[in-house]
């Protein structure tokens, strides 16, 4: 249903989206002369790093059990 089926590439696209929000917040902080935007970018980056660590740990565990990272294979919640 999505563009890609490899779970690792989906993680990387999530990082892309988070970085786009970072750039937008920094641009607004530059325009309104407020350092709070850059502080929030700092926190978003911290949360993204923690999320990548835990998400990749989950991915490794899934790979150990199912031997593939194809997300079309994991629609067991659907039925």
């Amino acid at each position: 249903m999505l563009f890609r089926r490899n779970a690792i590439v989906i993680f990387m696209c999530i990082e892309l989206m988070l970085n786009s929000v970072n750039l937008l917040l920094t641009a607004f902080s530059n325009q309104h002369n407020d350092p709070s935007g850059q502080i929030f970018v700092f926190f978003i980056m911290a949360v993204a790093a923690a999320e990548v660590a835990v998400g990749l740990a989950i991915l490794v565990m899934i790979y150990r059990n199912a031997r593939s990272v194809d997300i079309d294979f994991f629609n067991k919640l659907k039925e």
Binding site: V9, M12, C13, L23, T26, N30, N33, Q38, L56
Partner: protein, 163 residues
């Protein structure tokens, strides 16, 4: 002159982000994403956010992408497993992604960009450190608790069960 640098940098960013999504091999995706982070470094320097630029480069391109490469190499995920989707599905995905862009562009259209008197020290470490430790002390401490949780969770999830 700076405008040309901005346009070239933006074109490189968008091109490398598109190549991240559309390339077939995951290792090429990671490499394009690392190049994207370098172009983002240039963007942050243009926006006078020097501390954020350095931290982004070190954390994202230096640590997180290396972690991705470790996982891809360890689990040997470089195979191309994508079948061809139907053209209708691709078209629907592009349209639904582009609607958000239209919303953001139309929200910014009638805004008059008033240039306030720019403080030139807004991106420096001292200013950001002052604001972070005075006004946002509680979220800072909560982020440390969050990191502790993430470390414990990642280690616990990565353990092999000894049967």
């Amino acid at each position: 002159m700076i405008q040309y640098a901005f346009y070239i940098l933006s074109a490189l960013s968008v091109a490398s982000a598109l190549m991240t999504v559309f390339t077939r091999k995951p290792v090429y995706s990671v490499l394009y994403l690392i190049f994207f982070f370098f172009t983002l470094f240039g963007h942050y320097i243009l926006l006078n956010a020097q501390f954020l630029a350095a931290v982004h480069l070190i954390v994202y391109a230096g640590a997180i992408m290396v972690l991705f490469l470790f996982i891809i190499m360890m689990l040997n995920l470089n195979k191309e497993i994508e079948p061809n989707k139907s053209v209708v599905a691709k078209f629907a995905a592009v349209i639904s992604g582009g609607l958000l862009m239209i919303v953001v562009i139309s929200a910014m259209k009638g805004v008059d960009h008033v240039a306030l008197n720019h403080r030139s020290d807004i991106g420096l470490v001292e200013t950001l450190g002052n604001v972070l430790y005075n006004k946002y002390m509680l979220p800072f401490e909560m982020v440390s608790v969050l990191f502790l949780t993430a470390i414990v969770g990642a280690v616990m999830l990565g353990k092999k069960e000894i049967k």
